[in-house]
């Protein structure tokens, strides 16, 4: 009870300060985008191919989690069909890669449109109802799309459809560095667009309907339309993420986009922190990096055979156990997720530093 109230109060004060101090928000925005570009440049020029590959994956999942957070955190709707939308985007890309007229950005755009259309078809019946019906509809979508994928692949394409590498002249875009640049640019554009929307009329509409649908409709907000907009938009962006994923892996199969992935993405968005801008990116990082950390852990314990074999056999389960436990713990103690934890740590450090500073000043005076 107290937790939720506190979360509500902080959320409210957050929006209030955001509207009141626009200069502070501009500064945060500038610092954030500068840090984003600097980090991307650092990885691009200084990173090894492994680092670049991993960062590309983080960016791809980042596009997906950011767009899912749009739905969860802003519109207050839950979807379990993120992986299905990614599958749609990935299949589109692989299909279009066979045609020479579909030069690089075209598959992305087609995936965007197709994801939006599917989102519209699914969303219209689901979002007329209040509450958690979108959850069930998207669960159905996940199963149906996954099944159709399995049916289409059959035994002929059991390993998945091949995605021909996109090219601009002699430049192969799906190589490490070009693909990294592309994903970073797409992620940056997505973040910019969402940032603009959240601070404008749409953001306020979503905030209103998330807090109270009836209240929002009294305020003249067409609840169904705004929920639908969030769902269609997030579906379209998720499909773009799937399309980029297809470019990175070079082959797409239905089994890489299972319900497990949807659930993991959902959990990670909440673990990162919904209602925050950086939270979903943290979640995307966690979803990519946690399995790798566990792998590293088993090689650290290589001397101890029992521990390392235990780690090896239970790696996948251990990571999902950590996801689940982290979600529960964070929902209980810090609604803003890892972002909130980071913020708390930041304030703690600042407080300690100030205390130390004043202590030293005090001793100097005396």
């Amino acid at each position: 009870m107290t937790n939720t109230q506190m979360a509500g109060i902080t959320a409210n004060s957050g929006t209030l300060t955001a509207t009141a101090k626009s200069s502070g928000r501009d500064r945060t925005f500038l610092v954030g985008s500068a840090a984003f570009v600097a980090l991307a440049a650092l990885i691009l020029f200084g990173g090894s191919t492994y680092v670049i590959y991993t960062s590309t994956l983080v960016c791809i999942y980042g596009i997906v989690t950011v767009s899912q957070e749009w739905l969860f955190g802003r519109a207050g709707q839950i979807s379990l069909g993120a992986a299905a939308m990614m599958l749609i985007g990935a299949y589109t890309t692989s299909y279009l890669s066979n045609y020479s007229w579909a030069v690089f950005p075209i598959p992305l755009v087609v995936a965007l449109v197709l994801g939006g259309v599917v989102g519209l078809i699914v969303g219209i019946p689901a979002l007329r109802l209040t509450g958690l019906y979108l959850m069930l509809t998207t669960l159905a979508l996940q199963f149906i799309v996954s099944f159709l994928g399995q049916d289409a692949q059959g035994t002929a394409y059991e390993a998945g459809y091949i995605v021909k590498p996109p090219q601009w002249g002699s430049l192969v875009l799906s190589n490490y560095r070009p693909l990294f640049v592309i994903t970073v640019v797409v992620l940056g554009l997505v973040l910019l667009a969402l940032n603009g929307m959240y601070s404008g009329v749409p953001g306020r509409a979503w905030a209103a309907l998330r807090q109270n649908e009836f209240g929002a409709s009294v305020m003249g907000i067409n609840v169904t339309r705004w929920k639908l907009a969030a769902y269609v938009g997030s579906s379209a962006l998720t499909a773009v993420g799937g399309s980029l994923y297809a470019y990175q892996t070079g082959a797409v199969g239905y089994d890489s986009f299972s319900l497990d992935l949807s659930l993991a993405l959902l959990i990670m968005v909440f673990v990162g922190g919904i209602g925050t801008k950086i939270g979903p990116l943290i979640g995307a990082g966690a979803i990519v990096i946690l399995p790798k950390v566990l792998q590293q852990l088993s090689s650290v314990f290589a001397a101890n055979v029992t521990v390392s074999t235990w780690l090896n056999t239970n790696e996948a389960f251990l990571s999902s156990a950590i996801y689940g436990a982290a979600l529960l713990i964070l929902l209980l103690f810090e609604r803003d997720g890892l972002f909130g934890v980071g913020r708390r740590l930041y304030y703690l450090v600042i407080r300690i530093a100030r205390a130390l500073l004043s202590l030293r000043r005090g001793t100097e005076v005396s």
């Binding site: 937790n3 109802l129 509450g131 019906y133 199963f143 239970n314 999902s320």
Partner: protein, 392 residues
């Protein structure tokens, strides 16, 4: 309609007579004109209740033992009737009566439908109880199924015997459900419902992962406790395990429905389901009722898992995904109807087994989800759900 009226009257009458008896024991004066008191009770009960409300206001966790449950019953009697009709229909309709001579395909369709439908029904009980008590759509039922199946499998493979293994598994799950509610979901209560539902996803994932770490992902085989003999009942050739499943499910539903509708405890649970705040004002311990709902949900989920294991012996992944495929069945029956879960389960399972026998096995899960979409479009509250469920 007449039937319904009669039921209300009978219930209020019974409740009234008991209350009367108490009054007469206490004060020594009471009229015995039952025909008139019946009517008077219906009108006075509202007054009495409102008295209580004013006196007890602010005391949300007032003890429920010190007040006559009959009074609560009479206030709730209107709700009782709504779901009673459904429950009677589902319990009395023993499918397959009209079948006399049939071929092997039809036989297996019916037996499959009953067995799988029973499993869906068992999964659904817990879902419905949790939804009614706390308004949360629980995705943790699959997790409970897996843990039930795996714990039971490991116990029986240690040679502990069927009754011991079943009892221990169920006791463990009952405790686990209660602890989980008290530890996690009671603390999340009062927040946004969708956050709590997401927490159940996390819980399901966590339980699934922990049971896989504990018992491994391999396929579990259990010794053939029943043999695999067949019995001939009403022209149906039915195997022992299927019969066991059906009997166990019927017994569980009987216990849960009778418990909900014939005991004071069930009355309190239903009062929490119908209006949590009013129930709290009237002195029902809401937290205790929700804890009970979670405990029963975990138990029945585990029961579904172990029944499924006995029926075939399977790997945890299959059990887990079965829990997800139960959603169409639950939605078809109605989110807040216990008996609806069984009816919906049997209907969906019937469709699935028709498809798998006459068409193609791979279509059966997707067919269930197509049905789910259809139900969402046409009748979102399901067959037996109340209209209010549409606005969660």
């Amino acid at each position: 309609m007449r039937y319904t009226r009669y039921r209300i009257a009978k219930f209020s009458y019974l409740g009234h007579r008991r209350a009367k008896r108490r009054v007469s024991r206490g004060t020594g004066s009471a009229s015995d004109q039952q025909d008139t008191t019946l009517r008077r009770h219906v009108t006075t009960s509202g007054l009495v209740v409102s008295h209580r409300k004013h006196r007890r206001i602010g005391d949300e966790r007032g003890r429920s033992e010190d007040r006559p449950a009959e009074r609560e019953r009479s206030t709730q009697s209107r709700r009782i009737i709504g779901s009673r009709g459904a429950s009677d229909a589902s319990l009395c309709g023993s499918p397959g009566v009209e079948q006399t001579a049939m071929n092997a395909d039809l036989n297996s369709v019916i037996v499959n439908a009953l067995t799988t439908g029973c499993t869906y029904g068992l999964i659904g009980i817990g879902f419905v109880l949790i939804f009614r008590a706390t308004g949360v759509v629980s995705f943790a039922q699959s997790g409970f199924m897996v843990i039930g199946a795996l714990a039971f499998g490991s116990m029986i493979n240690k040679g502990w015997g069927l009754p011991t293994a079943i009892t221990l598994t169920l006791i463990f799950l009952f405790a686990a459900g209660a602890v989980i509610y008290r530890g996690i979901f009671a603390r999340l209560a009062g927040g946004e419902v969708f956050v709590t539902s997401v927490a159940t996803i996390g819980l399901g994932t966590l339980i699934y992962a922990i049971s896989l770490i504990q018992w491994g992902p391999a396929t579990i085989t259990i010794p053939q406790e029943f043999g695999y003999g067949t019995h001939s009942i009403l022209g149906l050739q039915i195997s022992s395990v299927s019969l066991f499943t059906i009997i166990l499910t019927a017994a569980t539903f009987l216990v849960v429905l009778l418990g909900l509708h014939r005991t004071k405890l069930g009355l309190r649970m239903r009062s929490v389901a119908s209006d949590t705040r009013l129930a709290a004002y009237l002195g029902v311990n809401v937290v205790r009722m929700s804890t009970l709902a979670w405990a029963v949900a975990a138990t029945t989920g585990g029961l579904a898992g172990l029944v499924y294991l006995i029926a075939g012996g399977s790997n945890p992944g299959t059990v887990y995904s079965l829990g997800m495929v139960a959603f169409p069945a639950i939605l078809l029956g109605g989110f807040d109807s216990v008996a609806g879960a069984l009816v919906g389960g049997i209907l969906i399972a019937a469709l699935q087994s028709v498809i798998s026998v006459y068409f193609n096995t791979t279509y059966q899960d997707v067919a269930a989800y197509v049905i789910l979409l259809g139900v969402l479009l046409l009748r979102p509250q399901g067959l037996f759900g109340s209209r209010a469920v549409v606005r969660i």
